[in-house]
């Protein structure tokens, strides 16, 4: 049973460009959350998708957008990249409707470097 997978593992982009990161949830999960982890900091919640809609959003600008597909996989898009967007982007999957006590499973992350 595959866990959460993310692609690519590493990515280098230039300021102003756009990037798309991908995530496949753990088998049986229907909800995907995205987190940004800057170097030396804890992950910060970006947004959460369920039934192809954004359900919760953290304090991130509209440059950050996402999508969820019918097979529950998800994409994170970032437009007009800034140097400060350099970070590890983590995807987590879970079951919709589960309480806050339900464990979220994390993928290995995508390391984005903006130059």
């Amino acid at each position: 049973d595959a866990g959460v997978t993310q692609s690519p593992t590493h990515l280098i982009k230039t300021r102003g460009q756009q990037v798309t990161l991908r995530c496949s949830p753990k088998s049986g999960h229907d909800t995907v959350s995205w987190y940004q982890q800057a170097l030396g900091q804890g992950p910060q919640f970006i947004f959460q998708y369920y039934e192809e809609e954004e359900r919760q959003r953290g304090n991130f600008p509209d440059r950050f957008s996402g999508h969820q597909f019918p097979n529950y996989s998800s994409e994170l898009n970032v437009n007009a990249l800034l140097l400060g967007d350099s970070a590890l982007y983590l995807c987590a999957s879970s079951l919709w409707g589960s309480s806050g006590s339900y464990e979220q499973y994390f993928g290995p992350g995508t390391r984005l470097t903006v130059t």
């Binding site: 959460v4 959350s33 987190y35 030396g40 900091q41 804890g42 992950p43 910060q44 919640f45 959460q48 359900r55 919760q56 953290g58 983590l90 987590a92 879970s94 589960s98 309480s99 806050g100 006590s101 339900y102 464990e103 979220q104 994390f106 993928g107 290995p108 992350g109």
Partner: protein, 114 residues
């Protein structure tokens, strides 16, 4: 609103000695609390979770944590450190009945000396 403060950014112990990683939280809701570990170049792994049952929670690899509501604390302990415990540890809070958005602390880097 919820927040987490990890009181030490770095903790260094000798192998075989006890480990204490401190965490204080703030939450408008009854919280669930978690400890996650992150080894270099690896994903986040759940160590243990508190979900309003027993206040002393046992996790994997000999770790445990005690929920103290009066002190709003959830400190992580282990009786005897092993070299393989060296990693980044995150204390995390989530509202127990209001979705499952996770709020992470800033992390504590645990170093284990031989």
């Amino acid at each position: 609103a919820q927040s987490v403060t990890q009181l030490d950014s770095h903790v260094s112990v000798s192998e075989g000695t006890p480990v204490l990683l401190r965490c204080n939280y703030s939450s408008s809701y009854s919280p669930s609390l978690f400890w996650y570990v992150q080894h270099p170049n690896k994903g986040l792994q759940l160590l243990l979770k508190y979900t309003s049952a027993a206040t002393l929670v046992k996790g994997i690899n000999g770790f445990e944590a005690e929920f103290k509501k009066s002190e709003t604390s959830f400190h992580l302990t282990k009786p005897s450190a092993h070299m393989s415990d060296a990693a980044e540890y995150f204390c995390v809070v989530s509202p127990i009945n209001a979705g499952n958005m996770l709020t992470f602390g800033g992390g504590t880097r645990l170093m284990v000396k031989p």
